[in-house]
């Protein structure tokens, strides 16, 4: 069925997954559980990746750099046609939030497992998103229109109260952004923000936004079917981040009570309705000390941290995405959604927390994943896997569930200890240390906590002696083995036979 807004929803039996890594695995599993056949795509760097083996069919789409493979819309559409796939799931990243890709799918008569192209376009544009949700009475961070005179901006700043942020209209990544704490500093901030914005974006338009200090990043998960039903699945606490990269997420949030959850949920639903949203989506909010919340942006895709919501609601979000894309109605009404227990996710990245989180590349030489009650791991890595500079550094997501937050934390500590991966450095020690901090345990953190008030404890080396012993024993054994291997003829059996006898002797 084609809706008025061009969105195509209809039954399909074969799904192409336009992604790689853990999210490709996640989608493959959901599809197989629903009896949908699957098509993987892979670059030269991913021929050995598990998503290729887990799929029913796999097609090569080019060299390792994403812009020559996973980001090439024509190649993906072409594979879908050749394989006879009725739908494409974009995952997150890559083409997931490209309006042109959603449109290209529809134009090719293929179901795009996601929202209408127009919703992606509106929510992808900061200023358009802001004005659209404002019209639906969604609270946004107070601010001015872009392009006002300095005098008008100064008057607005004084009215909304300091501190404020001077921001570039064309901005992103903190460029052309200036915090201002006093009225007399405004003129200088306008000048330097304009200079930087002009240099970075070729556009020196600036505007003013109220600066929310000690804020948390809390987001609401939504599901919307193509028949006008939209529900919220509670919140996720995502304040623990570094350079805008989330590191630990949990559901529910320490600071959200049932009343706040309902209010944030209803506002999130209103924001989604403002763009006739369909499928899974997330509204990100900034929540201040006084629990005022402000719309930040909408992510028009499945998110990395969706599993914590799945664990506390019992809803399989990726399966729901596929059902919605097939044109089915939501099976849940809002009153059916109950939050039960607590879930925490640690993103395991190939980076060195002891060396300024420098990305670590290399070949995974061994992996043993944690296991046991309440532990879920979403991963796409394997032994022999090369962690290349082409794709992001996330190796896997470790998600733990408990009846209470404390139980989930204890379980996560246990699972982090069990997680064994060699060949690259990982941020597991970061998670271990964070999960021991009082501020984490008492839920007292904001979006600046990791960057401004957390540093790794480098003295922590509880097993230095044991490590020294193990390495020495390994080196000793190796030397002894080498000494026993003699030249051919000097022993009556071959060295190989002798070695295997020796190995038996050791057991």
């Amino acid at each position: 069925m084609h809706r008025e807004d061009g969105l195509l929803v209809q039954r399909f039996d074969k799904l192409l997954i336009a992604n790689r890594g853990e999210i490709a695995m996640r989608i493959l599993r959901a599809a197989h559980e629903l009896g949908i056949r699957t098509v993987a795509v892979y670059s030269d760097a991913d021929r050995n990746s598990p998503h290729v083996r887990f799929a029913d069919e796999a097609y090569h789409i080019g060299p390792p750099p994403a812009r020559e493979s996973y980001l090439v819309i024509e190649k993906i559409i072409d594979v879908a046609r050749r394989a006879g796939a009725g739908a494409i799931h974009p995952g997150y990243g890559f083409l997931a939030e490209r309006e042109a890709f959603a449109q290209a799918c529809v134009d090719a008569g293929i179901v795009f497992v996601g929202p209408p192209a127009r919703a992606i376009a509106v929510m992808g544009d900061k200023l358009m998103a802001r004005s659209t949700v404002l019209a639906a009475d969604v609270p946004v961070v107070p601010g001015t229109e872009p392009g006002l005179s300095d005098a008008d901006m100064a008057a607005a700043a004084i009215k909304m109260g300091f501190p404020v942020l001077v921001k570039a209209a064309a901005g992103g990544g903190g460029k052309g952004m200036r915090p201002v704490h006093r009225a007399e500093d405004l003129t200088g901030a306008f000048e330097s923000a304009r200079r930087e914005a002009k240099a970075a974006f070729g556009d020196d338009t600036v505007y003013i936004e109220k600066m929310i200090t000690e804020s948390r990043h809390i987001e609401i998960q939504l599901l919307a079917d193509a028949h006008g039903n939209t529900i919220y699945l509670g919140e996720r606490e995502c304040s623990l981040q570094r350079r805008h990269q989330k590191l630990i997420e949990e559901a529910p949030s320490f600071v959200v009570d049932p009343d706040l959850r309902r209010r944030m949920g209803e506002v999130a639903v209103a924001a989604a309705r403002a763009v006739d949203y369909v499928n899974a989506g997330t509204i990100e909010f900034l929540v201040d000390r006084d629990k005022n919340f402000y719309f930040l942006e909408m992510n028009t895709r499945v998110q990395v941290e969706h599993p914590v919501t799945e664990l506390v609601t019992g809803v399989d979000i990726v399966q729901e995405q596929l059902r919605i894309a097939r044109g089915r109605r939501l099976r849940l009404r809002q009153e059916d959604v109950q939050i039960k227990g607590w879930a925490i996710e640690c993103r395991i990245n190939a980076e060195d927390p002891y060396n300024n989180y420098l990305p670590s590349t290399g070949t995974i030489t061994s992996v043993q994943l944690p296991n046991g009650p309440g532990v879920r791991i979403d991963t796409g890595v394997f032994e022999g896997n090369e962690i290349s500079p082409y794709y992001d550094s996330m190796i896997s997501k470790l998600i733990c569930y408990g009846e209470t937050r404390a139980e989930a934390v204890l379980r996560m500590r246990r699972a982090l200890e069990e997680y064994r991966i060699m060949g690259v450095k990982t941020n597991i020690p970061f998670h271990q240390q964070m999960l021991q901090r009082h501020r984490f345990m008492s839920g007292q953190f904001d979006t600046k906590f990791v960057e401004e008030r957390f540093s790794m404890d480098e003295r922590g080396a509880p097993y230095a002696l044991e490590a020294a012993l193990l390495a020495t024993l390994a080196a000793h054994t190796q030397t002894q083995e080498a000494a026993q291997l003699v030249a051919p003829g000097a022993r009556d059996t071959s060295n190989w036979k002798w070695l295997s006898r020796w190995e038996r002797l050791r057991r």
């Binding site: 030489t365 061994s366 043993q368 982090l416 200890e417 997680y419 064994r420 991966i421 060699m422 060949g423 450095k425 597991i428 020690p429 271990q432 922590g460 080396a461 509880p462 097993y463 230095a464 002696l465 044991e466 490590a467 020294a468 012993l469 193990l470 390495a471 020495t472 024993l473 390994a474 080196a475 000793h476 054994t477 190796q478 030397t479 002894q480 000494a483 026993q484 020796w502 002797l505 050791r506 057991r507």
Partner: protein
């Protein structure tokens, strides 16, 4: 009571002394012919197995049980225990002594070298081959980053080789002069 280390005990080797370095801590580890182990002179009851699956090593140390992954790298070993990765340098006694000597500027066979600590130009060579030098004597003047640097002899000995002359461009760590400590050997050649 020390339990013999099963696998190692089967091999009648001589007692070995190792020095393992982890995060600036040094451990002296003795393994005797029966596989008995002492760490920094203290005896430990140790049983360890490399399990056939997944590269896991099981260590029982005075009955305390630990699981680890131990892998060899080019110049060190990596040991993963409970999420923390330890980089360990293992040297037997001889290698340890030699590396100590090297750190103090002394070489493998009684030879010491003077190397360039940074790229630069040789301004002057203050010694000639066959000349006796005392530790601390100025042997080379190196100009680098517009500064003159005096390079000194790391030990007493005889200058056996001079690889550079005034005006030469040198790289970092390039060997400039070799000094032999062993007068007897030098005389026989």
């Amino acid at each position: 009571m020390v339990k013999p280390l099963g696998a190692l005990a089967a091999l009648n080797e001589v007692k070995m002394k190792y020095i393992a370095t982890v995060r600036d801590q040094e451990f002296t580890i003795d393994i005797d012919t029966d596989g008995r182990i002492q760490i920094n002179g203290e005896p430990y009851e140790v049983d360890y197995r490399r399990l056939p699956s997944g590269g896991v090593t099981s260590l029982l140390m005075n009955h305390r049980s630990l699981a680890a992954v131990v892998e060899e790298r080019i110049n060190h070993w990596e040991v993963l225990i409970e999420g923390e990765l330890y980089s360990v340098q293992v040297q037997d006694e001889r290698a340890y002594r030699l590396s100590r000597l090297r750190l103090s500027g002394l070489g493998v066979d009684g030879e010491a070298s003077v190397s360039s600590p940074m790229p630069g130009i040789i301004v002057a060579v203050r010694v000639s081959e066959g000349q006796a030098v005392r530790q601390g004597d100025k042997v080379i003047i190196l100009e680098s980053m517009k500064m003159e640097n005096e390079l000194r002899a790391p030990c007493d000995g005889i200058v056996t080789h001079i690889h550079v002359s005034a005006g030469a461009n040198v790289d970092k760590d390039q060997v400039l002069i070799v000094i032999s400590q062993d007068h007897e050997t030098q005389g026989e050649e």
